[in-house]
Point group: D3
């Protein structure tokens, strides 16, 4: 089985880390095809960056579709462009944010999210409300660590994340933690051990969900908002993406 995992930002080292996290959990026969766009921002921190990451990310989706992947994973915790990708792709598409929320819902009545910057709290809350899972989330916390600060092993960043987990257990009655950034994919095991509760990494979660959908033969419904886009003219540098 061939899974496409797209890092919607342009930072190659982050793509490599994501790919490693994905491969670590993938089944024996699964090939992880990790990509990143050549246009867009080096990291996604809030609504503005999201807007400019989406076209490039959708380009990766389109290319991977042509290459015959069986499922797509969008490896940004804001699930950047997820709805558009579902309309664009024949194969199913999973965001690592929703993946983390769904998997955490299977092992805890109530989870907390620890993300990078405060600017991402509301986007994540909007997604939780959209997915219907807001009631399961005790609180979205920000460690105030920029995304790229996670690229190198960084004791200060880890300490800030750990401090938020401690607070989530003590103050929010969190039973599990969902890590709120693809760049935290390598920290889950260590933090779970330190704090004695399940810590969910969305990248790994999404890989198992994507494998599941493929095995089940399920793909995005065409009956509603994910119907194939109507053919029409697109202008300018994005013209090549016209449906």
């Amino acid at each position: 089985m061939r899974l496409h995992i797209v890092n919607p930002n342009t930072t190659a080292s982050m793509t490599a880390k994501i790919a490693a996290a994905a491969r670590a959990v993938a089944q024996a026969g699964t090939v992880i095809d990790a990509r990143q766009p050549t246009m867009g921002p080096v990291s996604i921190e809030g609504f503005y960056d999201e807007a400019f990451a989406v076209p490039g990310m959708l380009g990766c989706i389109r290319e991977a579709e042509r290459d015959g992947v069986e499922a797509h994973i969008i490896a940004c915790f804001d699930d950047t462009g997820l709805d558009a990708a579902r309309a664009a792709a024949k194969a199913p598409v999973i965001g690592i944010g929703e993946a983390g929320f769904h998997m955490a819902s299977l092992i805890a009545a109530r989870f907390a999210v620890v993300t990078t910057l405060g600017a991402s709290i509301v986007p994540i809350e909007y997604n939780l409300r959209k997915y219907g899972l807001a009631d399961r989330c005790a609180r979205v916390r920000a460690a105030e660590v920029p995304v790229l600060a996670l690229e190198e092993r960084n004791a200060a960043a880890l300490g800030k994340i750990s401090t938020e987990i401690t607070a989530a257990i003590r103050d929010d009655r969190a039973e599990a933690i969902v890590l709120g950034c693809a760049g935290m994919a390598d920290l889950a095991a260590e933090l779970a051990h330190e704090h004695g509760l399940p810590v969910v990494d969305g990248v790994a979660a999404a890989v198992t969900l994507a494998e599941g959908l493929v095995r089940l033969g399920l793909t995005t419904s065409r009956l509603g908002p994910y119907a194939a886009p109507r053919t029409k003219t697109y202008s300018g540098p994005l013209a090549g993406f016209a449906p």
Copy 2:
């Protein structure tokens, strides 16, 4: 990997059908250990049957734990006894109802459930509200087919289920269907083909989710309501189940 799937009713032919559905979708290395209790009702149709199915089901969970399974699946769409099982087991536990809802949420903005009898509509709605996914479900419909009527290939039953799917697409704006009974596990592919939309069987969905949790090394949090039960005296025929 060894997965325990428990049919909480005592009908062996239904256990066999469930096991077959599970094996059809399991990974190469997964062993499906299907069980059913020796005490309890022959089918579960509403709150009363649920109550008497739970002790036997929890007995199966306990035995399977001793046998070293890595995850449990409760194969009744009401997710009978799921919360108690999570407290009882070290391995993670998934209900086929929640499994169906979560997987459907990844491929459709809005799904409908088609279950057996009207008496199960409210129990399923309560679960949807508990899980936080009520907003994703357009409607829970009953085909008015008893559970055991599904045991043999039955054109009338299939017709009633199909009629409800037609109505769900036309009247509820359903984009996907979740089949609301373990006994429907063999119908998903046929109904999906007939109606041209994704049809999710909870048994198969739960197998892939259980495999996913095991690969991710995730199990039920002990910090909240699923902490191990306190040691105490149990009396009467159920005394052997004392924690």
Copy 3:
């Protein structure tokens, strides 16, 4: 009028305390028929104990029906087995949890619950959501007092409960308190006096609601999930409970 009040655990001293609380508030002509099962756990603290308390509790319901009671009260704050009991009984059935919530809603815009152990917080929250009254409840607090520690007059336990009430008034804007355990039935008056706000005991509340339903001639609707269970075979030690 004859009311059946069932303590779903097997601790006779607790049944006696519950019966006393019920008789203290019952009308002149009401007979309180207090029972407890002979099978099941000595106390109910969380989902696992609930599962094994239900069959015995339903046995009490069945016997009391035969004895011609006009209403049933389930005297465990988790409303253990309430839905199954409604399907099983011709007479109406009330849980002391829901009774406390409904009565508190008549005298306060916003109440808090103080229960025994943290493991009961989520079960109570699930009930509040199921009943539709979650918005009325400011917070469910646990005093971390085991159920049976309430059986004897216990200054330490009372102190812990009182501390939570103080916090609920100060931090949660609670206007009234609902005591979250049948074993607290004797504490309501004292705590109300100490804290200067209404304190609702679910046992007493349920007695007046049950008397009300009987006077009104109202009993559980048979049109939905509480339709009489379909006749079917039950096996094993619980076979005698077959509908």
Copy 4:
């Protein structure tokens, strides 16, 4: 026990009917003290009438307090002026709307309301949302019968109400009906018999709830919005109501 039941409109025949319904269900020792204001509208049909019914109704509350009643019932299904009455009175106050909703919640998972005119649907929906019980109500239906048309035995009015009940069972999955007007108090038994489901009259429901609160020694909390009004100057014809 002395209960005050106030019909907030000025139609004496309706007060008499309400008093009769109350007395029919009250306990042996309960005295029903029925009143109506001398100022205000002859019937309450929507928000405008409500506004002018409240001062007179609060005058009745004040007088009944002086006369030492132990609880008040506001006998208009919109629960007209309920919040103000709670702040004004030492004794507890119950609206017949909320009484009907709470009692119906004890005997059905899902109820419908059948009220008089379409203009009352939204006021009732607002109350359901305020009380937290909106999720329990399948639908509020209007029979398009003016309030005063119910004052005399009226086959046409009864037929319209009955038609809505039929529709609520068939289309809304209603398991019980709450009659949405004090003027329907005499119809509950007949409609329950005709349709084979519980039909709740708010007047009778409120009487049993009021008796219950008095027995429980519970009255409105003073900690929140129902604190006694601050002393201040009132001008004009309503000056006499100054707190």
Copy 5:
């Protein structure tokens, strides 16, 4: 354009302050017609005062209608009598509470309200739930400043309000503040400057919304709860208000 702004209490100095705030923001051609009732309380602090302020307020609405105003504003943050006024008036009616909430929703994902006394928190929360905007409001805070204490420039009162804003930013993640009393209309600019976030005064907000509705030619729908009241008899000192 002629806008009617009614201060529902009888304090003329407060009406003057409200009128000034309204004129400061009104368009060049807008005439502000500020009124106050001659009957009712000197200030509105909670449900009881509201009840007695409404008839006089509706009298002002009626007179202003006769004088041909094009829109009405109710200048009490509880939106006292708003629903009745909508049924009474041909011109559209806006409450300053809802005006503040709607405008704050356009500039912040999440706002907090700072009002006068604790008794007003629940009435405001009820309105937020009724309007559907409760999810946008982080918290309603009370500065514990009586309404009339705001009539004269008052450093202590300002300090208490400012303290709550500080807490709302720090503890509630508030991005904007809505001032919860018409008497605070002169404080918005100063507090916005001090705290570095948008501070919305409902009076000014309502003026621009009213101007907008008039320009759009929009007025209250007659199809639902705001249909014109049915003609009927009113008795007593309020008889003159009969529809």
Copy 6:
């Protein structure tokens, strides 16, 4: 006052129609600065088109900021890119979808939306949930008229929209209609007259709200998700948009 209104698609005739609708309702001193991007799709019908319309739309926002406009309006009913625009702009930003919802909330308890194609129903529902106004919307209906079919006076399109309005009044209890496409801006008056209820055009609504925000001196809060984007590298054809 200078208002920027951006049509996020590239169809100039639609921009002209939008500008005309805006000018028709703007105050005397307001200059309407209407723009459209040179890159992106000719119409926006669902999530995919949205994704490619946003960068060009944000380019217009940026240019208009440089030109000193005092507020921005995004004239696509899906409020395409609204959150990103708020982070990008110093001046406040309003979407015509939210504008329609807020204005309709001031004149009706319950409104319905009539939009173009079924693919837009879910995006609009997501927005309603995000804004908190889902409870105010009875239903989102699609007339199945493509966006560009509205560009020329089109009896068939008008007829389909009118049919949906009829259904919304009859079946959804809608009291007002919000037109769900910028291309319907010229139809509001005619449809309101035909159906006898308020019909809200989001373009006109947004103009008055934008004028209001400017008069009030309110702009987007910088404290939360709309903080200015952090400076970082953007690559490829969208590099020029780097914050």
